[in-house]
């Protein structure tokens, strides 16, 4: 069958899985397209590849297209987030020095309670605490800021610096940073490298954080609606395949290949199975739903998610919050998601916005054809974000 080749950029991370699986399992060919997956050396290069038309779609940090819509950062091309590629999937870790002091204080490293972890870290950290993150516009930054503001860490001077994930372990060992928030496999990599210990999974701060999105240029979405639909369906099928427990071992093997992540499959396994080794001493912790690709309508691009990100960015950058939320809502394209995926029989929610942080447990909600189960959605401080309409 003749297929149209679609260049797509990604960062070699565990959460690039839906794109890699779509290619490796042939979900792309089934839709008449052929994904030409191109690894990017940095998030800024990846964004430029998409903005300047070197690729048609990309695996992108969810706050990037929102920040661009608000005029923050260098580039102003209008992007659309047509679906969410993954929820959660980051880890927060500390260097061996802080880890030792936490252990000395009797901290249990439960890898779950964000409030307690914040309090314990505040007790042992110096006046200045430097965190490394992959990019200035990222869920990593937003989660860290939200966590710091809501815990005893608020009394510290917290600095957030950009460090490319492959260099995170080195920066920690060199004392450039005290701690980090990074996507897998780089947190586990630091543990295996004996330079740090894991403190929290990202989902302990917000259990339903949109981590990466499938992003395209607005003009491309308008001129190539058929290709866009094929791409979205292929990626949706890949996410569904990933959600089956039986698929995980195979997925780890695929992702670990030299062409993609080029790390051991066992390292990838930890994130996909939610089974973490959190310290050099080999202590393990289990995290349910560490990274979610599909269940609980994970792939739906909620406008309220974009508004939450915009709200945080606006507060920090001196912008009007309600204007920013309005601009951001246009970036998460629940309209395109409905248009392209409803034909597949995908249950889409009746609403395009929800109260973020308001679901203490998985809950059934009204959908186009009946009902749909949404995943737990809580912030560690139990606050609820009500988007401005």
């Amino acid at each position: 069958m003749r297929t149209v080749t679609l260049p797509v950029a990604y960062m070699p991370l565990v959460d690039a899985a839906p794109l890699i699986v779509a290619r490796e399992m042939g979900f792309d060919h089934a839709e008449g397209i052929s994904l030409d997956l191109r690894p990017a050396p940095s998030w800024s290069s990846l964004r430029d590849m998409l903005a300047f038309g070197h690729v048609d779609a990309a695996h992108l940090l969810s706050p990037v297209p929102v920040a661009m819509a608000l005029g923050l950062g260098g580039i102003a091309t209008s992007l659309s987030a047509v679906s969410v590629l993954s929820l959660n999937g980051n880890v927060i870790g500390v260097g061996t020095h802080l880890a030792q002091r936490l252990a000395d204080q009797g901290f249990a490293f439960d890898f779950a309670d964000a409030q307690a972890a914040g309090a314990a870290l505040a007790k042992v950290a110096g006046d200045v605490l430097v965190f490394g993150v992959p990019f200035p516009f990222s869920m990593h930054v937003e989660l860290l800021r939200y966590w710091v503001a809501g815990t005893d860490l608020a009394s510290k001077q917290v600095e957030i610096r950009t460090v490319p994930p492959p260099l995170m372990a080195q920066a920690l060992a060199g004392g450039e940073i005290d701690a980090f928030c990074v996507g897998e496999p780089w947190g586990s990599f630091a543990v295996d490298d004996n330079v740090g210990a894991l403190l929290l999974p990202g989902r302990a701060i917000w259990s339903c954080a949109p981590e990466k999105v499938l992003a395209v240029r607005n003009d491309w979405a308008e001129t190539e609606p058929h290709l866009l639909g094929s791409l979205m369906r292929a990626v949706w099928r890949a996410a569904r395949w990933l959600s089956q427990p039986d698929s995980r071992t195979t997925a780890s093997e695929m992702l670990s290949r030299k062409t993609y992540l080029d790390v051991s499959p066992e390292l990838v396994d930890r994130a996909l199975m939610g089974e973490f080794t959190i310290s050099a001493r080999g202590e393990t912790r289990q995290v349910e739903g560490f990274v979610e690709f599909f269940d609980g309508a994970a792939t739906f691009p909620w406008r309220s998610q974009a508004k939450w990100v915009a709200h945080q960015l606006a507060m920090r950058n001196g912008l009007d919050a309600s204007t920013a939320e309005r601009q951001a809502a246009k970036v998460f394209r629940s309209d395109l998601y409905r248009r392209e995926l409803q034909g597949l029989g995908v249950e889409t929610p009746g609403a395009s916005e929800k109260l973020e942080g308001a679901l203490a447990e998985s809950t059934a909600v009204a959908s186009a054809n009946g009902s749909l189960i949404l995943s737990q959605n809580v912030f560690f401080d139990r606050r609820i974000f009500e988007p401005t309409s």
């Binding site: 050396p41 940095s42 300047f52 070197h54 260098g74 580039i75 990019f135 950009t162 490319p164």
Partner: protein
């Protein structure tokens, strides 16, 4: 001496009318982020030939944003394939150590320049508000130089790969000659035929043979 300091001294001595002239002729400060010394020299030479620019090279990327802030540059150039590039994005955020906002050069009279730069493999960060005609010569030169460097890098990688493949194929041929007692041409023909039948590259088949023979010996 820092040319900006010179400008400042003149401002006091000769009064406001001459100040503008001094500012106009003031050199642009360019920072090049490049770990490879040879590449860095090539870029610096080209930029210096192109005109009046003070060029600084940063080779060690730890604390990159702070290192750059020290030079207070008008333009920052970095290879698009450099993973440390994300560290520069901090400079585009208002709260960066560099007070003047730096943006990737996207708009203005020299439109299309950013696209050309990305294609050539260089990312240029430019202080917001600098006039396009002042930046263009520097960016144009950088684009040309990066293009050449990129070509050289691709060629080098290709040559290296070809050499390595040649070596493996020769070894595989040797193994076949020894095992089957055939001529070199026949050994090569066998490799080619096998590759064709299995829809693989000759080098791949050769590598598989060499690996397998290594395991068995």
């Amino acid at each position: 001496m820092d040319p900006k300091a010179v400008g400042l001294t003149l401002l006091i001595e000769v009064g406001p009318t001459s100040v503008q002239m001094v500012c106009m002729s003031q050199n642009l400060t360019v920072v090049v982020v490049e770990q490879n010394q040879e590449r860095a020299f090539a870029i610096v030479d080209a930029l210096k030939e192109a005109g009046d620019a003070d060029v600084f090279v940063i080779g060690n990327v730890s604390g990159l944003a702070r290192q750059i802030a020290v030079h207070d540059p008008d333009i920052v150039l970095i290879d698009i394939d450099n993973p440390s590039r994300d560290m520069l994005e901090e400079l585009t955020v208002a709260s960066s150590p560099l007070e003047r906002p730096v943006a990737m050069f996207v708009t203005g009279a020299a439109g299309g320049l950013a696209k050309a730069a990305v294609e050539a493999g260089v990312s240029a960060y430019v202080v917001d508000g600098l006039q396009a005609e002042r930046i263009k010569p520097v960016i144009d030169t950088a684009i040309a130089r990066f293009q050449v460097l990129r070509q050289m890098r691709v060629e080098l990688a290709e040559t290296r790969r070809a050499l390595e493949e040649r070596k493996v194929i020769d070894r595989a041929k040797g193994l076949i000659i020894k095992a089957k007692g055939v001529s070199e041409d026949e050994a090569y023909a066998l490799l080619r035929k096998t590759a064709m039948n299995q829809n693989r590259r000759v080098a791949e088949v050769a590598e598989a043979l060499v690996t397998a023979s290594g395991l068995l010996s």
